[in-house]
């Protein structure tokens, strides 16, 4: 049992969550192996976001256990999650649009000189390095994020996760509202995460994007895990059928 545990980076066991009288998660088991990319799919209101927010410290499970690297952990805040090495890249929630690229990358973890003053030189150099590692060439670390394209913004958030040696990166709908070219760009960033052996949870509506990048798929509906399939055992069409069927079964 212990040996098997070691394979898993994170393991959520029998997670229950109520919001008032709404039973949002009904005993969900969910795990991610080291270096594995999992596609988390399902209809709106299926419980994907709730599950992930428990993992990233925004919500707290009413019942259930979370193990991280084999250890039982209690994640009470986003700060706790970050401390463990869990980084979340939420659409529109990861970056401060009017702050510069480097200030975004080092938000909350500013490199300091004396008296809490920011070491701007180190911050700027490391920011450009982190972006370059991801294959992203941006003109200046001083540019506000709002002036970047959607794909570049995702890149900044992912570069941040990589720079701070995240073990698990959660991407919540990273390809929504992006052009085809930008989607390809973002998928390439995720491949870079995979090459660096970072575990990834990829939440999406777009089964094709998920199929492209993930090794395993977890389908949720109505607060329950309905299916858990490996990529080699399915196809985009198969996944689509699963999502549809799950929605009806859960009714």
């Amino acid at each position: 049992m212990e040996r098997e545990n070691n394979d898993f980076l994170v393991r959520m066991v029998n997670i229950h969550k109520w919001f008032g009288r709404v039973y949002a998660l009904r005993g969900v088991d969910f795990e991610v192996r080291r270096g594995e990319t999992v596609g988390l799919i399902g209809d709106n209101g299926a419980g994907k976001s709730t599950l992930i927010k428990i993992l990233s410290g925004y919500h707290h499970a009413d019942q259930g256990e979370i193990y991280f690297e084999g250890q039982r952990v209690s994640i009470r805040s986003p700060r706790d999650a970050r401390g463990l090495g869990i980084e979340t890249v939420y659409q529109e929630q990861a970056l401060a649009p009017n702050l510069s690229i480097s200030r975004n990358i080092f938000m909350g973890r500013e490199p300091l000189r004396r008296l809490g003053l920011i070491d701007k030189k180190v911050m700027d150099e490391e920011s450009m390095q982190a972006l370059a590692n991801l294959g992203l060439k941006l003109r200046s670390p001083d540019v506000p994020v709002v002036t970047l394209s959607g794909g570049e913004r995702q890149g900044v958030a992912i570069a941040r996760a990589l720079h701070f040696k995240a073990k698990l990166v959660i991407l919540d709908e990273p390809t929504v509202a992006l052009s085809v070219k930008e989607v390809e760009e973002v998928l390439e960033f995720i491949r870079q995460l995979q090459r660096e052996k970072v575990s990834v949870i990829f939440i999406t509506h777009n089964l094709y994007h998920a199929f492209d990048i993930a090794e395993r798929f977890v389908v949720m509906a109505r607060g329950k895990k309905m299916a858990d399939v490996k990529k080699e055992d399915t196809s985009p069409q198969g996944l689509s059928d699963l999502v549809l069927k799950s929605a009806f079964v859960a009714e």
Partner: protein, 333 residues
Amino acid sequence: MEKKLTLGRRFLLSRATSVLVVLVLILLLFSLFSPEHRFVDPDNLKVLLSLGAEFSIIALGVGMLMICGEFDLSIGSILVFCSFVFLKLFELEVNPFIIAVVTVFVGGALGLVNGLITVRGQIPSFVTTLGTMMFWRGLTLLLSGGEQTACDVSALGTKAASRFLALFTGRAGGFLPAQFLWFTLFAILLGILLHYHRFGNWVYATGDNRDAARAMGINTDWVKTACFIIVGVLCGVVACAQIGRLACFTSRTGEGWELKAVAASVVGGTSLRGGIGSMMGIFLGAIVISVIENGLVVLRIPYFWTYVFFGLVVLFSVLSSMYIEKKQMEAHR
């Protein structure tokens, strides 16, 4: 292909620059059109720099608070309550420096109350401070009976008293009022805090995208509360300076300052939604507001015109800063 930003263009596109242009314009206007150029008379400049600085010191804090996405409508009421605390301790003949420390401390405490109610109760600070604005003003009126009371620190006759007055109402080199030096000092300190310290980065992040800031482990509730406390502390400092200058307590002090402070911040390029603004802009914005108030008096224009003028300047500033924002976006593309 990227467009290179020349130094000149960069200067013109900075928000603080547009405020500077407004400031220079109204300075010219007042200097040229005041009868006998009385606006630039040293006596008037002294009045402008000391009186205007009192309001402006608090406006600095309000601007910073707005960058982190909150408002404080209670500044005038915190000020008057602090003044009342000062008066009561003065009547007990406490050493004025001890009074000053207690007054500043009380100001900070009232700021803390604003902060705690806002973040713990998850109430918009507009509402929180609307409540505390009425509460502290009301309480002060109740306790003071709404009267003006003499509070002449120099009457103490002690060495500490004269040092106290020199610190808050003295003139450096026989001309520069101490209040203006305080204003400049606070602007520099808060500027360093906002632009070079990590706390400043948290302030911007909190105002710009609170969820992102929280996800990055920033305690946004703490950041907001700290900004409220800074505003309260500044109110305490100004209460000391004002009583030193006026030598009396008046229960109407600070009335109308709350919106003037918001106006100063907006004129200085601060966004009402938070996340955007600079200390230089707020500094200049506060000066603009003070200059208008003073200049219209010197021009012998009836006081009622003041707010008409404020309104025009606020609208002009907002429109021009939106224009600059657009140009900046294009320049970055």
